[in-house]
Symmetry: C2
Amino acid sequence: MTEKMSYNGENIKQPNVGWFFSRKYITENDAYLFDKQIATICANYGKIGFSFITYPIGGIYRYNCQINKNRNARPIHLPDLQMGIQFWQKYVNCALSSWIDPDSPDEWIADFSAQEFKKEMDYARYLGINNVLIELKHSESPKLAKLINNFLDSSNCELSFWILLPTNSYLFKNEDCWLVWRNFRTLCNNCNHLFVGLAFTEDLGDEFASYKQIQRWKAEPLSFIRIDYSLFVRGNGSELKLTDVHSKLLKNLFLNNQCQHLLLSSLNYDELNELVFEEMLNGSLDCIKENNCKRVIEEEFLDEYMDVLQIPLQPLSNSLDSSVYNTFEQDKPKYLQYQKAIKTALEDLLLQNFENIILIILGAGRGPLVNASLSAIAEARKTFKYQKEFSVKIYAVEKNPNAIISLQYCNEERWKNSVSIIQSDMRSLTLFLESKEIEKPDIIISELLGSFGDNELCPECLDGVNNILKENTICIPSSYRNFLTPIQSLRLYQNIRDLKSNNKCNRVNEIKECSELSDHLYVVCLGQFCYLDKTKHCFEFLHPNLTNSSNFREASLNFRIPKNSELMGFAAHFEVVLYKNIILSTHPERHTENLFSWFPGLFPLRKLLFCANECNILFNIKRKFDKEKVWYEWFIEYEENGELIKSELQNENGESQSMNLS
Amino acid sequence: MTEKMSYNGENIKQPNVGWFFSRKYITENDAYLFDKQIATICANYGKIGFSFITYPIGGIYRYNCQINKNRNARPIHLPDLQMGIQFWQKYVNCALSSWIDPDSPDEWIADFSAQEFKKEMDYARYLGINNVLIELKHSESPKLAKLINNFLDSSNCELSFWILLPTNSYLFKNEDCWLVWRNFRTLCNNCNHLFVGLAFTEDLGDEFASYKQIQRWKAEPLSFIRIDYSLFVRGNGSELKLTDVHSKLLKNLFLNNQCQHLLLSSLNYDELNELVFEEMLNGSLDCIKENNCKRVIEEEFLDEYMDVLQIPLQPLSNSLDSSVYNTFEQDKPKYLQYQKAIKTALEDLLLQNFENIILIILGAGRGPLVNASLSAIAEARKTFKYQKEFSVKIYAVEKNPNAIISLQYCNEERWKNSVSIIQSDMRSLTLFLESKEIEKPDIIISELLGSFGDNELCPECLDGVNNILKENTICIPSSYRNFLTPIQSLRLYQNIRDLKSNNKCNRVNEIKECSELSDHLYVVCLGQFCYLDKTKHCFEFLHPNLTNSSNFREASLNFRIPKNSELMGFAAHFEVVLYKNIILSTHPERHTENLFSWFPGLFPLRKLLFCANECNILFNIKRKFDKEKVWYEWFIEYEENGELIKSELQNENGESQSMNLS
């Protein structure tokens, strides 16, 4: 019967919309009967198109009761046996009784609330409910936070708390609404069982008029938005639709069908009919539809990677697997740019009347750059309409013995044995030059860049071939720069903190046992985050580096962090010049279209830094090395109450993370 | 193209049958070409009905080569790029080159083999292969074991080893084949990445003629059986079928479609045609079909529980959840027996001319025993054809406040408010008797038994109601006994050892941090195991225990363990007499049909005990208590080389596990 709930649910990827129950105008007796009709209620709302309901955990009968100093409330009354156990978990979220207020200034209310909080939460656990909604009532709720912490510590269940805040600040002594939430979750140890919801109000707080301040909610686990009937108006065609201002805010905040929910309600009009429910549903869905069309495809592909921390590859010390090569080879935009760069370089050489061109691919993997080179050569022949006679000799250098087998196969089956395959570390090519197994190249091509550009040791690898270069050898790439941007993100902070327990990092066992989890450069598809300032340039490397100038680098980047925000770390990007004006970029403002090989990097801080006022943050980073390894060290500086604060130096001497030179 | 492999695969739940490649009679050149045809090979075998192939990881070209003292072997040649990466993982298992023999008495072969082992395993990891098959060549293979251990320690991959042994012992100096495997996996630290396979041989070793000895393989991760063309004969209808002796053995060993695989081969007849392949496939499937019909339903239901360790419930100190009650309430055979017992007891009272019968249900939960009682009363009325006037007053006592809500709901909606619901611990009922909220019962009914009978503190709970009983109160249940059986099981040993890392235990965090993982009574659906002796009786409890005789118990049970077996622990069962001859039993030899509320219990040993010779094992167990808790302590005694050995006392003073009295 309640299966009808899934009518608009699983198959069609529509946002999850729930109905929020708060029937004020109902007699005691009716309420008691109502609380035994959950199956019918679910079925009815399911038929309309809702996918769940939010119902008082103690029943309406109890939810609406008046408490008094005798400390009597009506008992919990929402019998489990009225509906199959699986339907409770699927279709019902619960809300704490509205009179429960552990932080009430009246001591007896606070005490009684604490006791009844435990009863209701115990009953929610008994029912197997997934989410319990609690409305924040004060700008500070330390006792509620403590009750939540105690519940999560003592119970072994997967239950989540949905904390609801209004979008105005009357309740909160005019405090910023985000700040109230931030303070509350901080009291709850930024626990990942806590989610936030916004109850749209008729008049919105100032923060919801500022694009920048709205962005902060994208860095929070904003799991639902409650919209009341009172915020709907009749449109021209007399259809029910959200007011323009609420519609705009909803479009801005509702980004993710899978993680976010809409919660419709009618707080002051109890007796709406089904037609109105349906109109409200359609009105709110219309409003977010266009948002979601854009995002669904992206989400499907990226969903499994979103906010999942990865350890950067170390291709120098670990051989890559076939599947890793396979993934990277799918990146068409990347190899088209390479092809273009190689073609342009070839043409430049041909214009200088080169006839026998030597091309060495350094780190050929399974051959994508060989393919790009062969295509570039074919194109160059066409450009010159076959009027220039020239030959190109391709050497493919690769140190991974397994990838050599793939290269040999391609050579036989696809490249007509035209490529010379050399199994060697590129830093040992002098030997091959001496034995005349290779020749000095006119062009060298490599793809050794990581998410932060140099972090897979491209500078060191390419410096290692200096001995075999001519004075005028063209190096593709010829230079690269990296960039940093301060970000806010609760999720990423949680994921790093919980790394060892939650296994949310592939190759997590490569993290050293004793290391600070925050002292790592991670690779991560940024999902729940926002930028706190503009992106700034950090390091640069030029090739060929025939003078062997040092690859030590340091930089101090100054960022301006807005008031009422929380700095989590710095997102890392890069931009590479392959040849002349042919570039690849992951810079957030000018990302090469459809390039997907690189997720951003992330330099986390050890602690979240709350900025109550606008402030300057200086990010200091060094790229250091010794004989065995290369590593980054970083810390921040800022002023607090007129005092200069330096954070602890992270990853000192590469103790937590380093890139091995062998 | 290779998608055809799934033709007989995913949807139809048919055993996974693979083809084992070992083409001896092939030229060097043909082998080289063959190794580049994997996609076609997969497609062809898929069309016939095979679901995977086992192919040499280095290619046939290399597999067949002769090695010599110059330490040259043909290079690995099985190019990854010839087939989509996902098909390798789905359709191809690999076999190590047959000449690799790290334990060869020839030192150069051993050294060279170690080196080539690493190359081939590195290539398997590169390809992303799930399983690598290795044929054991010696009765002892310590160097191979070390190579496997090193590979698993250093690589971070999910790859499994399939260790193949023949079913005769020519290779193994006439040692028991199971023993050779047991010694080998012991050298590999009984690692759970190791699986065993049996290659059926024409003449079978003696151990395969003994039912008892065959049982040992059911306690091992026997993941595949290889059957060669030479073991097939033509039947009367000229169909290809396994010889009777091999058919019988296969039926005995092949128990699980999901975890076990068949591997067909033709080691000495290279050029069979597709028709013969299909005949072999059908011949072997026919043979195991009837086995599987029996087991499929059972597997589907039990699959997620099989060999998964559970911590016994503690209903006295933890309130149960709705979903737990819901599961237990599904057990129809159990409540039908209760109904029968209650009815018989009622009839006995009626024959004694009782008119107003008082019935108290102790620990009513959500009411299944109330339902059983109401049905029993209705039946009793029918039996006496309504000729006897009698009334039955039912009291339902329950301490879980959440379940009280369910009871009240049932009382209103289903029981016409005929039941008196008392929220109380049953051990505090004297108060209710004094205040006349209850009356002294003529019958008390409870269902407080755990997998080992008394382990959920039924004795203590029922002793706690002695004060409210009449002299002749009927107690349902009236007695229970528990039983122990020694078992062999590698899987359960592994699961306990890896408990904290692999999360294969629900409620694992209830295990005390510092406790010995083996010093727990677990509850587990026994899957990969075998019994090593008959089941023996341990403790007994009688109710009502009006003399308050102690619930301390001790027992020493003597078991006879067969030669060449490995004792892992003791399976625990119980049998309860509800009333007169109405019983429920989980005793392995007389389990009540379709009863599913109780999986067996398990008392593990700290170490696996290998028994080279038949021996007597004395299992000593005590049930002890103090004011707060009850616990079991256990150890074993046996003779070794004429010396009496005592194992360490497990769970001394309940340090690892105890049942709380409040």
